[in-house]
């Protein structure tokens, strides 16, 4: 097994916002401190933590949207830097947003939206429409949806469109940021099942960022607990659930079991 994406000693700091801070490039605060994380091919890794722990920053840094102030991100063993490695990452790694409807351009039809990744990475491909229909079918939407606009969709359908879009070009890794937050439980179950089925069919690797331990328990192989910008515990999901080592993990699990 090899790591698809790996963070080593990752630190991320927000630059100060004032003019003075900008001039001296003074960092204001560390959001992530010394984070190590490896996502093995074909597995699902969950990053757990409360809001403000740095979960979203971690995802953005792994996607190359934020620059680490120290440490490195490696994609397929090569250090992430602007240029071919980043392009490679953009092509093979997809991001699922917390708010599926918001991540769709309201003025585009679904067919165009799902074809976007193909148009971006293979601009010479003649007819992406067949592929679009296949992708919509893969997520359980009829192909006539291709001419609809995002505002005509229910929340669950918008979630499916985002998954279809993520599947275009056969990605290797999908990073999902709270993929079912705000969904009804029955819709959440549908989306999670869809993701699990697609993992089986396409050998996908997932990095799921969530605060919902119910999802973590059922859907992840291993997990990393993020607390105040540091990874305080990692391990196989079952092991961590049965024997949490860190005090914070214990609090989290107690809150979860109290439900």
């Amino acid at each position: 097994m090899s790591a698809v994406i790996e963070a080593r000693g990752l630190c991320v700091a927000v630059p100060g916002s004032g003019l003075w801070d900008t001039m001296w490039r003074r960092p204001r605060a560390n959001i992530l401190t010394d984070v190590d994380l490896a996502v093995q091919k074909g597995t699902t890794v969950a990053v757990v933590g409360e809001s403000g722990a740095g979960k979203s920053t971690l995802a953005r840094t792994l996607m190359g949207l934020m620059k680490p102030s120290a440490g490195s991100v490696r994609f397929r063993g090569r250090e992430l830097a602007p240029g071919p490695v980043l392009e490679n990452l953009r092509r093979h790694v997809r991001f699922l947003f917390q708010n599926p409807r918001g991540s769709l351009n309201p003025r585009m039809q679904l067919g165009e939206l799902v074809a976007e990744p193909i148009r971006i990475h293979e601009p010479h491909r003649r007819d992406p429409q067949g592929e679009v229909a296949r992708l919509l079918e893969a997520v359980g939407l009829p192909s006539r949806f291709a001419t609809r606009y995002p505002h005509e969709l229910s929340g669950g359908q918008a979630g499916r469109v985002c998954v279809a879009r993520a599947l275009a070009m056969r990605p290797e890794l999908i990073v999902a940021d709270e993929p079912t937050a705000g969904f009804d439980v029955s819709v959440q179950a549908e989306i999670l099942n869809l993701l699990a089925d697609l993992q089986k069919d396409f050998g996908l690797t997932y990095l799921i960022i969530t605060h919902d331990l119910g999802i973590v328990r059922h859907f992840s192989d291993s997990l990393a607990v993020l607390y105040r910008g540091r990874v305080v515990e990692t391990g196989a999901t079952q092991a961590v659930f049965s024997q949490p080592a860190h005090a914070y993990t214990k609090t989290l699990l107690e809150a979860f079991k109290a439900h």
Binding site: S103, N105, R107, H151, R165
Partner: protein
């Protein structure tokens, strides 16, 4: 917001929508007359707008001169019709040029590096802070007043206005999740600008532009009235108003001839702008859950 797109594809439905309210019908009638008189002025009247006829000076409305004549005997109706040309050129021309430049600079400031943003904003603020009339006075004195100069001046005033709004909108859009989603898909900056930012920016900007049309027309009229606009013999509504102002006690029809079309046109543009806003702004549409 996106509901506007299919609607745009159906001009018939737009016409039907426009005629669905009294204000819409009023606007449509006024603007059609406005556009027709501007485009067809030479064919609608037998007179030349600058033809002087001292024998007929300050004539009351009659069958020969429906709206009477001014102090040097020029036919008022002809001057009003030709004035519409200037008003149309300025309202449509200046607004669209200002809109295009404003959106371009605004979007640039919104997505560009901080330094560029700061520089453009400083420039916009500087222009905005100059008193309109004084600046017009200075420029007109230096270069001389003419229609192109006036139009240039109006564009100069409106680019910062549209630019500021476009910049704000762009900043909001750049932060929008769907733009970030595109970036994460690997879309180039150019692609994001062209396919995702512009279509979402132009809709709201077009509404604002249509609502600004009346003030652009009034600005021309105001500057011309003060003698800072188009040079005297050219027929513009502002010039007519200025002529009428002098003789308003004895021959009020000159001021009325210049003022009524001005009021009607600005009203029509305002109504239309408000209707557009109500239709295109998703926040004003009630969502059914």
């Amino acid at each position: 917001m996106s509901a506007a797109m299919p609607a745009l594809a159906a001009p018939r439905r737009w016409v039907a929508w426009c005629l669905s309210t009294p204000a819409g019908r009023f606007s449509a009638i006024v603007l059609v007359i406005f556009a027709a008189s501007a485009l067809l002025a030479p064919w609608l009247t037998p007179y030349d707008p600058n033809h002087i006829s001292v024998y007929e000076r300050l004539a009351s409305p009659s069958w020969q001169h429906w709206l009477g004549t001014d102090q040097i005997g020029r036919d008022m109706l002809t001057r009003v019709l030709y004035g519409a040309r200037v008003a149309l050129a300025i309202s449509v021309g200046c607004t669209s040029v200002s809109l295009i430049l404003g959106v371009a600079f605004g979007a640039l400031a919104g997505v560009g590096p901080r330094v560029l943003d700061a520089a453009l904003m400083l420039l916009f603020d500087t222009i905005n802070s100059l008193p309109t009339v004084l600046l017009a006075l200075a420029i007109m004195t230096l270069i001389g007043s003419s229609l192109p100069t006036l139009m240039g001046l109006i564009v100069l005033f409106y680019v910062p206005y549209f630019g500021r709004i476009a910049r704000g909108q762009t900043r909001v859009l750049v932060e929008a999740p769907f733009i970030e989603a595109e970036r994460m898909l690997g879309a180039s900056t150019w692609r994001i600008l062209r396919d995702h930012l512009m279509p979402n920016l132009l809709g709201p900007m077009a509404i604002i532009a249509s609502m600004e049309m009346p003030s652009v027309i009034s600005l021309e009229a105001g500057l011309s009235f003060l003698g800072l606009g188009v040079r005297a013999p050219t027929a513009t509504w502002g010039n007519i108003l200025q002529d009428g102002y002098i003789f308003i006690r004895d021959t009020p029809w000159i001021a009325i001839a210049g003022g009524v079309p001005l009021v009607l046109t600005t009203l029509a543009f305002t109504f239309l702008g408000e209707m557009l806003r109500d239709r295109l702004d998703p926040k004003l549409r009630k969502e059914v859950t």
